[in-house]
């Protein structure tokens, strides 16, 4: 179904190829998981399947890509669109209409189907993906996760033979991701749909993957084969493989491997839980907020102490982002929020930004300076702080491993590098509280480990950290406590491992394997992880 033959592609004005001599043969009905670090060429490879590479972007293209017998050199994206359905990252920027019905019907109209047939397929898709409650809302008013569901639905509604999904569940909560994969599983079974999925959360996708393709630096195909053969060779992997490595067990994905790991985990003694005794840095008392369109948050209260990290969990649209925006003083909320004993709304804009660092979901609205170094200087300029011994950009660049990128244009960097740049830009003013909204979105597993290591370093330095996330593995790895929001209300509060274990939809891979709250994550097996660079 998909034949790539020595495919090499270089973007216009780029010095190095994004893909280098990639050869692959994918049979009809196979599901292929595409993995690799940020910037390794995964999205570019997906772009060659739907024809955007090279027709839309230009650049130098050599080798050959044949999709269902169509050579992408002679078939343009609109000609391939009947064969290949595509769902991108950040779908909101690619919607071409303003309503769900129009968005689903758009590709079918382009295909020239009859009105009755379009109506039948649209209705079936809405029912299958449970989009009914959203149908009457404009696309721009949907949450990120809801928009992602619509994008996947729009790719599937044409019943393509090949499906290309670029991180299709990155913004989805566990239930949303499950409904997408349930549907995909039906399609795979019924229609022998050939699928390429780029996904950083390997555990979600592995049970469905027939093959794994791992891209390395420069877009080379480093590994290709069955998941059980490829994953043990990678420097990263799903939690089960990481746990096996941590315990020194042979790595594998077979039933025997899982059983061996389970037995090993069950005999480990749980250490006594640590109690944070630092001063309160962030206090939230009875915080409520409503948008003009309706209620968002009700009576939320908690404290975060020095050196403590709190996870804010909950499904799409549960109020996590709204809570973080209230904590940053961006919304006129009811209730009290204090940072180091001072009410957040009593502080001027610059004062808030020096007390609290906030990184929103997508840092793309942050980065407009000419270079990475200039981004850091921009923050200092906003604060009226001249670069001094306390506020020098170079140590901050070093701490975030950005020194080699200091003179690069930030918007050309990979997702992980962009996020490190944005983090350095908000942390250079040395705030005492850090708020992170879905920090692992679009981040490869190694970059996630790197971020987790930095957060542990901040905790040791006495900062208070609040992380809103769908990523339960990440929450378990770095936070001490968790609250769960549901429809704007707090429905659970406690130690992270216990909270996750208490809600079946939120259990981590290790919790599901052992049926116990501890160990919740790989890092529970070695609490000193990341210590070498903990002072970042």
């Amino acid at each position: 179904m998909i034949d790539l033959d020595r495919l090499t592609y270089t973007y216009p004005h780029a010095a190095r190829p994004a893909l280098t001599s990639v050869s692959l043969h994918i049979d009809p009905g196979q599901t292929v998981l595409l993995t690799g670090r940020s910037g390794s060429g995964k999205s570019t490879l997906l772009g060659t399947i739907n024809g955007l590479v090279p027709h839309y972007y230009g650049g130098r293209f050599s080798g050959r890509a044949k999709i269902a017998g169509c050579d992408t050199r002679t078939h343009r994206p609109y000609e391939l669109s009947g064969i290949v359905g595509t769902a991108f990252q950040e779908p909101a920027t690619r919607f071409v209409t303003r309503s769900i019905m129009d968005e689903l019907a758009f590709g079918l109209e382009a295909e020239g189907l009859s009105g009755d047939e379009i109506g039948r397929r649209v209705r079936a898709t809405i029912e299958r993906l449970d989009l009914g409650p959203l149908v009457h809302r404009p696309l721009e008013q949907l949450s990120g996760g809801e928009q992602q569901r619509v994008a996947v639905a729009a790719a599937l509604v044409r019943e393509p033979r090949v499906l290309v999904l670029d991180e299709p569940t990155s913004q989805l909560d566990a239930d949303g991701a499950r409904s997408i994969f349930d549907w995909l599983r039906d399609l795979w079974r019924e229609n022998r749909l050939t699928t390429l999925i780029s996904e950083h959360r390997l555990a979600r996708m592995l049970p469905e993957a027939d093959r794994v393709a791992a891209l390395g630096p420069g877009g080379t195909l480093d590994a290709w084969g069955a998941p059980g053969d490829v994953l043990p060779k990678l420097a990263y992997g799903p939690p089960l493989i990481q746990a096996e490595r941590r315990l020194g067990l042979p790595t594998g994905l077979s039933r025997e491997s899982r059983e061996r790991l389970r037995s090993a985990l069950l005999i480990i003694d749980r250490p006594a839980p640590g109690v944070s005794s630092g001063d309160r840095r962030l206090t939230c008392r009875g915080v409520s907020f409503s948008y003009p369109a309706g209620f968002a948050l009700g009576e939320i209260s908690f404290d975060v102490r020095q050196g403590e990290a709190l996870a804010v969990l909950g499904g799409n649209g549960s109020g996590k982002t709204t809570l973080l925006r209230c904590l940053m003083g961006l919304l006129a909320h009811q209730g009290e929020i204090e940072v180091d004993g001072r009410a957040i709304h009593s502080l001027p804009v610059a004062g808030r930004a020096r007390a609290v660092a906030y990184l929103p979901q997508s840092p793309s609205a942050f980065l407009f300076a000419e270079t990475v170094r200039e981004e850091l200087l921009t923050t200092l300029r906003y604060h009226g702080l001249p670069p001094s011994a306390e506020y020098l950009p170079d140590p901050m660049l070093e701490a975030f491993s950005l020194t080699p990128l200091a003179d690069r244009y930030p918007r050309d960097l990979s997702a992980g590098e962009r996020q490190r740049t944005a983090l350095a830009a908000v942390l250079i003013a040395r705030p005492g509280v850090v708020l992170l909204d879905e920090p692992t979105l679009g981040m490869d597993p190694l970059s996630q480990s790197d971020l987790a290591r930095r957060i542990r370093g901040w905790k040791r330095a006495g900062l208070a950290v609040v992380v809103a996330t769908h990523d339960v593995e990440f929450a378990a790895a770095i936070t001490d406590r968790a609250i769960v929001l549901q429809a704007g209300h707090r429905v659970a509060d406690g130690a992270t491992g216990e909270v996750l274990f208490g809600r079946p939809g939120l259990q981590t891979t290790l919790q599901q394997l052992t049926g116990r709250p501890w160990p919740a994550c790989v890092d529970d097996l070695n609490p000193d992880v990341g210590g070498a660079n903990a002072d970042d």
Binding site: N50, G51, L52, Y56, R76, P77, Y78, S81, G82, V84, T86, F88, T93, R94, F95, V96, T97, R98, S99, M101, D102, A105, F106, G107, L108, E109, A110, E111, G112, L113, S114, G115, I118, G119, V122, E140, A154, R158, M328, L330, V349, A350, G351, R352, A353, R354, A357, Y358, P360, S364, A365, F366, F368, T378, T379, Y382, H383, A425, V426, A429
Partner: protein, 327 residues
């Protein structure tokens, strides 16, 4: 729900009147019609922000013309200085203000148009061979909401870094990100359209020759009209033949269909009839009695004239606000 063609005809007519008329009374009527239709459609009166935008749009050309134009006989003040001494005239002020009013009324019409029509309504009517035009139209229709979201995101991200932009000095901090985000948005919208099957190969072989012939005939008609205005009917015929040939080639082979068939109601007929009537009136007036539709403050400003029949004609553009919801 009125037919999209109705809104295209209404917006086209109102936009043409705003461009042709330079009489402040008729321009105000066009702006009021646009605002009334938008108010009725959105269910909300114009916001203070919109009014500020229009005042800013009017103030800029007013000040620009007042400061740089030296024409006009009614001197307001003058300084004994070279270059910047003046004279500053009432006529220059009025001329600039009318240009600003023209811009504001045109913008009001376009804002109403983009509220009432979706990019899909426009894309469905663009011939399959005009992919770039479709992408451009889609980006243009999405520009205002996208720019608003980008502006809010940029402003918030600057607050997060301790910055509250104020005044002209900080304009660059807002404008640069908006330009970058708009360009990125244009790229991604194009990606979305291409991968969803929107697009087609341009004409080839004989069809390409026919397309060029159509474009050539259209150009010939325009040039003939320009060089020999007395041959207007011949020029119009040639241009129309060229347009028809071009459209026939570009729409050939299109396979697009409609999900929800659009209906045509009596209200559509009423609005299209009224809009075309207003457009015809404006074109005829500009051709035979331009003074009835325009206002020229130079060389000495006088009070602009107002013709009740013309005013009532332009006021017909308010018709959608009356018949919407009764269709």
């Amino acid at each position: 729900m009125l037919n999209p063609v109705t809104w295209m005809v209404w917006a086209g007519s109102a936009g043409c009147v705003a461009l042709l008329a330079r009489n402040p009374f008729y321009l105000l009527l066009v702006a009021a019609a646009g605002a009334a239709v938008r108010w009725r459609a959105a269910g909300q009166p114009p916001s203070a922000g919109t009014l500020r935008l229009f005042l800013g749009l009017m103030a800029f050309p007013t000040l620009l013309n007042f400061v740089f134009s030296r024409a006009g006989q009614t001197v307001i003040f003058e300084f004994p200085l070279r270059w910047i001494g003046g004279p500053y005239t009432l006529e220059a002020l009025l001329f600039g203000a009318i240009a600003g009013l023209q811009l504001a009324s045109l913008l009001q019409v376009m804002m109403t148009f983009s509220l009432l029509l979706t990019p899909t309504d426009l894309l469905r009517r663009i011939p399959a061979g005009l992919t770039p035009a479709g992408i451009t139209a889609s980006i243009a229709m999405n520009f205002a909401p996208q720019a608003r979201r980008s502006f809010e995101a940029v402003r918030e991200s600057q607050q997060v870094r301790g910055h509250s932009p104020r005044g002209f000095r900080d304009l660059r901090d807002i404008v640069t990100p908006l330009v970058i985000l708009s360009l990125e948005s244009a790229m991604t919208v194009g990606e979305g359209l291409a991968t969803r099957g929107w697009g087609a190969e341009g004409p080839r072989g004989r069809q390409r020759v026919a397309a060029w012939a159509g474009a050539g005939l259209f150009a010939l008609g325009v040039v003939t009209w320009w060089l020999a205005p007395s041959l207007v009917w011949i020029a119009a015929g040639v241009a129309a033949a060229g347009t028809a040939l071009l459209l026939a080639v570009l729409t050939r082979g299109g396979t697009r269909s409609r999900y929800r068939p659009e209906t045509w109601k009596r209200a559509d007929t009423l609005i299209v009839g009224a809009s075309l009537g207003v457009l015809t009136m404006a074109v005829v007036l500009i051709a035979i009695a331009p003074a009835l539709l325009t206002y020229e403050p130079y060389p000495r400003a006088v009070w602009p004239s107002f013709s009740w029949p013309v005013g009532l004609g332009v006021a017909l553009l308010c018709l959608p606000a009356v018949v919407m919801g009764h269709d």
